[in-house]
Each structure stands twice: as C-alpha cells, then as structure tokens.
C-alpha cells in the first residue's frame, strides 16, 4: 500500500472523527451534567469529566412520584401503540399487497398524503372532537392518535415486505384448505418478522417522542406522558434546575437509545427501505 492510498483514508477517518465528536458531544454533556448538582453546574469553568460526579440526581428522580407516573404512562402508551400499529398495518398492508381493486391507487395516495397534514391543524379539531366523545384524558385517545401517526409509513413498509413473499405461497396454503386469515397469520406473516420489528421500533419511537398529541389530549397530571412531564417540570421556578433537567432527560432518552443499540439493524433497514428500492 503506497502513501497515496493511505493518506486519503487517514484524512477521511480524521474528518469523520471530528463529526462524530460533534454529534456525540451534546449527549455526553447531558450525561456529565446529570452526574453533577446545580451548584457545580452553575459554576465556571465547567467540569468536562464525569469523575467526581454522583448518582444523587438519579436517586432523587426515582423518588419523585410524578416522574414514575410519567414514565409509566409513556411505556403504556408506546407499547400499546406498537401493538395496535402492527396489527392494523399487517391487515392493511397484506390487503394492499395482494389485491387490486377499483380505488386502490386513490387509497394509497390518500394514505401517504396524511403525512402532509400539519399536526397542529389536526390537533385543534381533534381536541374538540375528543372532548365531545369523552376521549380526552384517556389512554385510548392518545394511543389512537399515535397509531395513526405511525400508520402511513408502517402500512407502506409492511406492504413492500409482503410484496417480496411470492403469491404462490398464499395460493398453496389456500388450496390446502387454509382460510385467508389463517394463511396470513400463520404462514405469510412469520416470513416478514424483520419488517414487523422495523415498524415496531418506528411506532415506539414516534409514540415515545410525541409531544403535541400528548400535551393536548392529556390534561390530568395522572395521565401525562414523559415528554410533557419533562417540559413542565422545568418551568417557572425550576427553570434553573439544570441537573434535574438533564437527569430526567437521560432517563427519558435511555429506553429509545437502548432500543436503537440493539435493533439498529432493523431501524436502519426500515428507514432506508423508504428511500431506496430493493
């Protein structure tokens, strides 16, 4: 290997490393800040190393009952969103994959264009609609909203996964006397598990991250989710509680970061399938 081949490579690594540091630094800073208390944070120069920090803030956080409520609600809503999204997407995706019918392309266009509607347009009247239906401050109200948020992409992705399963398999099962639903459930769907994982992760992330639906639908303290709890805990007199803020932020980020670390492959596959065919 001559010098000419090595040099470009070295500079590539160097530049990439610089950007990796830039992208990771805020997360690192969030972590480091969470190990310090406010007296240390509100002093210059800032301490860049985590050494000398403590888990005090975390202990305080887990004793905060409102926090546990927020966390519980987020977990509940996000998990339910995943289940409902997968269920609905499997059905719709399979139907769109296997059948041709008169208004099919209209339906598919409509499905995709849902994503154009600004959430704030929807939320204003969703609020009054839910209020009239008595669905404000209910888990099902928020779960429904989060599910619909995830549906367009999920249905599209699942459909493209089903498209890769040859119809001859459906036919063979049918000829063997297997009903349509059973075919779908026991034979075809197990073949697209990676697709299900991808939309599961996607739906979870979307729901965990949701702020605006939750803020508008959940008005009662006991029902609020983590993002709302996080935002409102650090308002008013607590706006300078940076250590508390960073600690709660860390805990709020941890589930999704862990999910990402273990399921990165599926996440990336799902996302890139949205852009690149095959």
């Amino acid at each position: 290997m001559n010098a000419k081949a090595i040099l470009p490579k070295a500079s590539t690594y160097a530049v990439l490393s610089v950007f990796i540091v830039i992208f990771l630094f805020p997360i690192y800073w969030m972590a480091v800040s969470s190990f310090r208390d406010n007296s240390e944070l509100m002093a210059l120069p800032p301490k860049f190393s985590p050494i000398g920090g403590s888990f005090q803030n975390y202990i305080k956080l887990f004793h905060m009952s409102e926090f546990m409520t927020y966390f519980k609600n987020s977990v509940l809503v996000a998990s339910s969103t995943v289940l409902l999204t997968i269920l609905v997407a499997i059905l719709a995706g399979y139907a769109l994959s296997r059948f041709d019918f008169r208004y099919k392309s209209l339906l598919m266009t409509a499905l995709i264009s849902i994503q154009i509607f600004p959430t704030t347009v929807i939320i204003i009247s969703l609020f009054t609609f839910y209020r009239d239906l008595g669905m404000l401050n209910t888990y099902r109200g928020l779960i429904l909203a989060d599910t619909v948020n995830a549906l367009p992409f999920s249905i599209w992705l699942i459909k493209s996964f089903y498209d890769t399963v040859p119809r001859s398999l459906d036919e063979a099962a049918y000829i063997d006397g297997c009903g349509r639903f059973r075919t779908l459930w026991t034979i075809i769907t197990p073949l697209i598990l990676p697709g299900l994982l991808a939309i599961g992760v996607y739906a979870f992330l979307g729901s965990w991250d949701d702020f605006i639906f939750s803020m508008t639908i959940m008005k009662e303290e006991a029902m609020k989710t983590l993002p709302i709890g996080l935002a409102q805990s650090f308002m008013g007199e607590y706006v300078y509680d940076y250590s508390g803020m960073m600690t709660m932020s860390m805990v709020a980020s941890l589930p999704v970061v862990i999910l990402f670390i273990f399921l990165q492959k599926y996440m990336v596959a799902g996302l890139t399938a949205g852009a690149v065919k095959g």
Partner: protein, 309 residues
C-alpha cells in the same frame, strides 16, 4: 383459470365473496382509525376556521364570514409567520442535507467500522425531541452553558454572556441547529444506502474514462441517487413544516414572535389565545401552502421519487 378450491368443493360461498369480505375486513381498521384521527378533524378544522369559535365565549360558535382569515391576513401576522417558517425550513433542510451528503460520502469510502460510526452519528436522531430542546437550551445557556465557555476560550464572543435562545436574531439559529443535529443522521443513513447501491460498474467505467473524484460524484453518483435525494429532501421539508416540539420548548415562538412558525402560531392562537377559530384558520392556510409545495415538488420533479412518496 386458477383452481378455485371452495367453489370446486361445491361450497355455497364463492371465493369472490370471501375475498371481498377479507379485503374489506383487512382495510377497515386502518380506514376507521384514520377517519377518526385525521379525516374528521381536518374537515372540522376547516369548519371551525370559518366560525367565531372561542373557548370562553358563552355564545354558540357562529359563522363568521371568513373573519378569521381576514384577521390573519390584515394584521400582518401571515407575513410574519410565512417569513419565519420559510427561513426555518430553508435552512434546516439545506444544512442538514448538505451535511448528510458530506458525511454519507465519507462513510461510503473504503473504511472500516462504517456501521459503528454510522451508529454513533445516528444516536442523536433517537433522542426525544423534548430532550433535544432542553439539551440545546442548556448548551446555549448564557452564563453557565458549555458552548459559551468554549467560544469565550477562543475569544469569539464580544459579549461574554451572549444570549442565544432568548436573543431576537439568534433564537432562530439555535432552533435550526437543534433541528439539524437531530435530523442529519436520518438523511445521512438514507443517502448512504443510496450511494452504496450505485452500480460499481458505472463508477469503474467513469474511472477508466479518466474521471476524477469530483466528476464521478457529479456525473455518476448524484444522478444515480436522485430518487433518494428527492425523497430525503421531501421528507425533510415535511418533517420541518410540522416542527412544533423543538421550537415550542426552546423559544416558545419568541422572542417577540421571531421564531413563530405556522405550526406554533396555529396552536398558540387556539390554545393560548383561546381562539380556536383563528388557530384553525392559520392551520388551514398552512395546510394549503404545504399542500401546494408538495404538489409542485412532485409534479416538477423529473426523476421518479421512490415508491414511498
């Protein structure tokens, strides 16, 4: 004709009917959910926008002859929102795209540990938006924020305790930075996937023809990934036009409405100003604008955007 087992077994239910039932059953859940959460609210939003619908008013909401729209346009608010929204979307999309392209090209070269590096950059995308907003607010904190400390070390700041998030001109900068930090990885991953699927034969042929790295990029790689680029940019525009959480939690649309985009404005008017009618009208106007943009983009985009959009 294909074998029709149930009919051939002499069943009374024709395959056609079962299929019809099955098809409908499969599509109904999605259709119902979408109708409840999207279709009805959007139609109602249009209706509300045409009414005098205030939270606290004791009278029933009444038809108000486009009054809300008139208020929106005549007060000059529309222009403010349009300007803020355009600036935000333009910079958020272009900067994250440029950065994403740059990084994906770097990652596309023959390096080891590509997936690990990609993963490390991608982490910022998974961070919840609220955390994103709070984190950058802390980073940009005037007195104790680490960024000011670093900038001061280099002597870059005239004002030692430079305000960022509360500064009328700089607030927009901070929300764009927060947005770019979170969104670049997503675009980068898409562009990288696109680059990796560029036919190596084409690249080889270009090299044989004597093309340098830059020309290969310009005449082979970029054209090959044009559908991916179009999709990524469109998704980015749509994501940023919806952006609420980061802006709300960092600047609340301020200071002095300097970062109030259509999204923020609509929500604010409805729930803080208690004027649902005006909020709905703002939202509808925005919906029309964004619908037009997407429509024009797709119509005039020569290359076929990937099947997703």
């Amino acid at each position: 004709m294909k074998t029709n087992s149930l009919a051939s077994r002499g069943g009374w239910m024709k395959k056609r009917h079962i299929d019809r039932f099955f098809l409908t059953a499969c599509l109904i859940p999605a259709i119902i959910l979408i109708t409840i959460v999207v279709l009805i609210p959007v139609l109602q939003a249009v209706q509300i926008s045409l009414m005098d619908y205030k939270f606290i008013s004791k009278q029933a909401p009444a038809w108000n002859n486009f009054g809300n729209y008139k208020t929106l346009f005549r007060s000059g608010d529309f222009t403010v929102y349009l300007k803020n929204t355009s600036i935000y979307i333009f910079f958020a999309v272009s900067i994250s795209f440029g950065l994403a392209l740059f990084l994906s090209l770097l990652l596309n070269s023959k390096i080891k540990g590509r997936n690990v590096m990609r993963g490390m950059i991608f982490m910022s995308w998974t961070i919840p938006s609220v955390v994103n907003a709070l984190l950058w607010t802390w980073l940009f904190q005037p007195q104790y924020g680490v960024l000011n400390y670093i900038f001061n070390t280099f002597g870059w700041l005239a004002n030692e305790n430079q305000t960022w998030v509360q500064h009328p001109q700089l607030a927009m900068v901070t929300i764009i930075i927060a947005a770019v930090w979170a969104q670049t990885p997503y675009m980068m991953v898409m562009l990288l996937a696109g680059l990796q699927s560029v036919s190596s034969e084409l690249v080889e042929a270009a090299k044989i023809d004597g093309a340098g790295r830059f020309n290969i990029l310009r005449y082979v790689q970029i054209p090959s990934i044009r559908p991916v680029i179009d999709t990524a940019v469109l998704i980015s525009v749509m994501t940023n036009s919806q952006m609420y959480t980061v802006i709300y939690n960092m600047t609340q649309g301020g200071p002095m409405n300097k970062t109030t985009t259509f999204s923020i404005a609509a929500y604010q008017e409805a729930f803080t100003g208690y004027n649902l009618g005006l909020g709905a009208a703002t939202g509808v106007v925005w919906l029309i604008i964004i619908g037009l943009i997407v429509f024009l983009y797709k119509t005039y985009s020569e290359r076929k955007i990937s099947g997703y959009l």
